[in-house]
Amino acid sequence: MIQQTNPNRRTFYLTVIYGLGGLMSAALAIPGAVYLLFPPRVKKSGDWVEAGDVSQLKDQEPSELVFKRTRLDGWRTLTEKTSAWVVKGGGQQITAFAPQCTHLGCAYHWDAGNKDFLCPCHTSVFSMDGKVVSGPAPRPLDEYEVKVQGTKILIGSIKKAPIVS
């Protein structure tokens, strides 16, 4: 013979079981989601790095300057090689483009014959001032903050170019 539980008690039991069960699941799931999704605490961001000298640049011809910069990668501080495509404009205006295509991050290069930047992955083409000429790239090339001190080219962090529709 099996004892039967009184219906009112049964409802009470079920409420407590599902209520506390739900509460505990939330107490684990929410911190878990926050832990996985929130960005880590920001530490001091990158300083200005010397990338090269103005004399290395040619008029109307981008140069790829390779330099070392310190980057925070999780729990590691890395000093790694990175590069920038640096263009000296007509009015001594200097622009430095981040070396990744804005489509899916491939490394593009300067096509001297066509006088434009060509990405080998999905054939995005950018003009010398970074604008999208053709291909799937959604926005112009990303630019670094850049300043010139004496004849030294100093490169800062990347400023994201807005999406042009």
């Binding site: 099996i2 409802t11 079920l14 407590v16 079981i17 506390l20 107490a27 684990l28 911190p31």
Partner: protein, 527 residues
Amino acid sequence: MPIPPKVRSIVDWIDHRTGLETAIRDFLYEEIPESSGWHQVFGSIALFSFMVQAFTGILLAFNYAPTPGDAYNSVRYITLDLTGGALVRGLHHWGASLMIIVVVIHMTQVFISGGYKKPREATWLAGCVLLLTTFAFGLTGYLLPWDNRAYWGTVVTTQIAASAPVLGQYMQRLMGGSDGVGVVTFTRFYAMHVMILPLSMIALIGIHVYLVRKHGVAPVAGDVGPKKRFFPEQVFKDTLAIFAVFTVLFVLALVARAPLGRLADPTDTSYIPRPEWYFLFLFQTLKLFEGPLEVVGAVILPNLAILALFLVPFIDRGRAIKTAQRTVAIGVVVLAGLAWAGLTAAAIRSTPAAMEDTAGLEPDAEPWQLVAPSELAAVGYFRMQNCGKCHAGGKVTTHKTSEELIAHFKQATTVTQLSDSQLKALANVFIKMNPNAAAALLSAPQPAVDGAMVYEKSHCGICHQVNGVGVKLGPELNGVALRRNRDWLIQHFLDPQRLSPGSTMPRYRFSPKDMEAIVAYLHKVPN
């Protein structure tokens, strides 16, 4: 609660194809003795604790790097840099202790009530293996943060395993510890902790629960009343008990930070290794035996105890009687409890107040804390001489060599009572001008700067090192804040030999102001 027909038909569809609903029903509507109740909630809590450990363990694995080179920093990153990281790690750390407590209570309850008796011997044996697995989780887990406690605990563990008769050397080889504890041991402990043990645990829990179901929940002796169902009344009691325990765990994880000591340092002779609290009784047992008998305390006795635990159902084969009449069983539990408490208390008494346990959780040192004492003292000269009046922010551009700078100091109207060596130190800061010194110039707090000046004036660097500068004749002063408190430092300055017999350090009778400053400085030296 009536189920809407639409939902009902979907559930039926799934059940016809998978048998899922029937299986859950069979599980929940299991018949249990009328005498079941609150005393049987511990098995469920143990299972729940394991689930919390599995969940938080997987979360930790998302940001943890299992190599001696990265482990420590990734644990620091989880604890200090990730939102919720300290909570997740806290749940896992304290959850481990909690799980051991719950498993032991569960076992004690079964032992006292005689729940292991025929035909439930196999259930007990599976439970014993589960207990050992839980301990193995603890042992392999506390290596993983790779701080001093982890390192030394594992050194001792592998050495104990090596001392076992016959099998010792093979065990040591299996643990990768033949040539000392390093990458190999580390990786093997990690593989144990995240692969072998969880799989074993899940399989064993499966066997254990299957056996409980096969034989039914053990009734209290003499219970012949009508059966009742597991769901919902017993599940309700289990849930309430689990909730109480979980609340304690959650609050503990929020309030008490999981410890992290200093990075494992095989050359650190000042560290006093102690295992986790649940192994302290074994640690103390080991100390009762010396010389050739050590193997008795280290290996033989613990293994005999485990053997005895396994043999319990085969030793006590009498008929089931009421718990209150099981005086021998109760006596064994009381004696074991007293022995455990006595050994643990003795071990705790021989343990120095752990000043190091949170060393790894201190925020990174500020740049000004990283400069040499002479540089920090120079910051003091700079401020004392009002150099900032003309050189705001420490800007100097004209003088290229140390000699030129010193000549400039001597001409400057504001600079007065600096000795030649002080002038040289000041000049050096500006000639080298590393970024940390530049930061120190702007941000070093005055009490620490004053202390650095006392340090320089007293020539402490002739025997001591700070931030790698100075001579290592006496103890290195980085980390002194962890080892010694303020009062100890003051007393030690006044009479070194009283606190460190045999020390060659002279007495320093500083003025109260200087004493205050140097102690403040030493407590700001990075660990």
